[in-house]
Symmetry: C2
Subunit: 250 residues, 2 copies
Amino acid sequence: MKNRRKTPLDSIKFDAESCSNDARLKILHDLPFFKGLTREDIINIHSFFKETHYNKEETIYFSGEESTQLCIIAAGSVKLIKHSYEGQDTLIDILKQGEFFGTLDILGQPVYQETAETQTNACIMKIDSRQFRAVLQKYPLAAINLIDIISERLKSANEMKKQLSVQNVEQRIAFTLLKLADKAGQQKDLGLLIQFPLSRNDLAGMTGTTTETASRIMSHFQKKGIIKTGRQWVAITNRKQLEQLSGYKS
Amino acid sequence: MKNRRKTPLDSIKFDAESCSNDARLKILHDLPFFKGLTREDIINIHSFFKETHYNKEETIYFSGEESTQLCIIAAGSVKLIKHSYEGQDTLIDILKQGEFFGTLDILGQPVYQETAETQTNACIMKIDSRQFRAVLQKYPLAAINLIDIISERLKSANEMKKQLSVQNVEQRIAFTLLKLADKAGQQKDLGLLIQFPLSRNDLAGMTGTTTETASRIMSHFQKKGIIKTGRQWVAITNRKQLEQLSGYKS
DNA sequence: CGTATAGTTGATTTGGCTCAACATCGGTGG
DNA sequence: CCACCGATGTTGAGCCAAATCAACTATACG
């Protein structure tokens, strides 16, 4: 019997449950930037948000649109994409439950710098950025937490910048797979599965290479038994070795 | 008579005047993140800072040291450098009067991620990061301003990330020259002069290439009459064309 | 099933890195 | 003031990683 291999990714279960009022409150409560606030504070803050449901692969906003909203993922996953007008798209990041995106500043850039689209069905909590600032003024602790979070992201972006300039494609892909696994990895029979659809093209966009090269390297990794991969999915079977290949420093 | 060309850069004048108490207060007052605060607030905040004078090319801190200080440049310019243990250094940024560096967060990374060294004689205002957080708690407006500033930097870092992955070296160098000119350009007889020493090596570090390639491209630019350049200095003579080469989008 | 999408694999080309030799600038001390 | 020397910049030749171009296969979905 021929084994017809299908995607091992969990199908997206998405009921009202996963985005209930209580669930959303809990998500806000667990957010790093509301750490240290009381339940009442959270409930108050929650009232400023409104949630929207999206289907798979819907666009939340386009790059170039006027930027007014801060978004937090209550359920599902979201892709941030930078378009270039030569048609080259770069996948900036893939975000999961509890992460935020959109705009933080009223001043500064008046338009979104990237396109946000859902990768799965999703529930997004939105707040107008002006209102969000009011919240931050009212809860200085939240503002300080937020500073920590952004400066963390800034460091990571600088790290990535350096990666891009000094590492070769193999190292960059290894590194990116590890980062994705940290974010969305789930231990399964076939290995540490990255729990969302991830094509060669996505990977190429994230590492600044081409689909073909990404494909070659992934095949190579699979041949060496480091990963198992198929259409739109990747599982890491030998994390150690992948770390070595990524030029990971202890 | 042979014209012995010397550096057209202004020599660094640096007297007590440029870093007097009043001057420092004015700098704090003009900082984007203290925008909207009263003079009294500023004076109060100023009392938390202590200033240090540095000579040219002194190290303010090394990457890997315990990070405790937030630094603001009262006078002079500072280079931020990332070392890699293969000896490859990347120039992350060059900062001028009024810009800040060092650490913002108590949590997160406990050590500096980069090395900071003065490029010219400089006066640096320092504050312990814990104290700075206290200041931010006391003046939520400052915290919010800071969020704007950091998220601006984050955007710029993401921009650069994309640049690195999709643009070729010529475009990256053109883009970087423009950014430096925006920051430190001064209109002179020979063109828009970037007002600090900038070697081929620095430029290579900022754009993720090698000294040789940077040199070739700079020669090329000069031959085409886009820039004038010499030892450690660059002046832009045809901004329009440089913008075109950089893949600048309108 | 049949078709569209995703992935693979090979051949060819090329941008930019490496290595190497040389040219210039500018500061220093005789 | 000039000769020297180290730092900085230039230029060429060869090479390699990865892009490009192209033909093909496998998978999933209706």
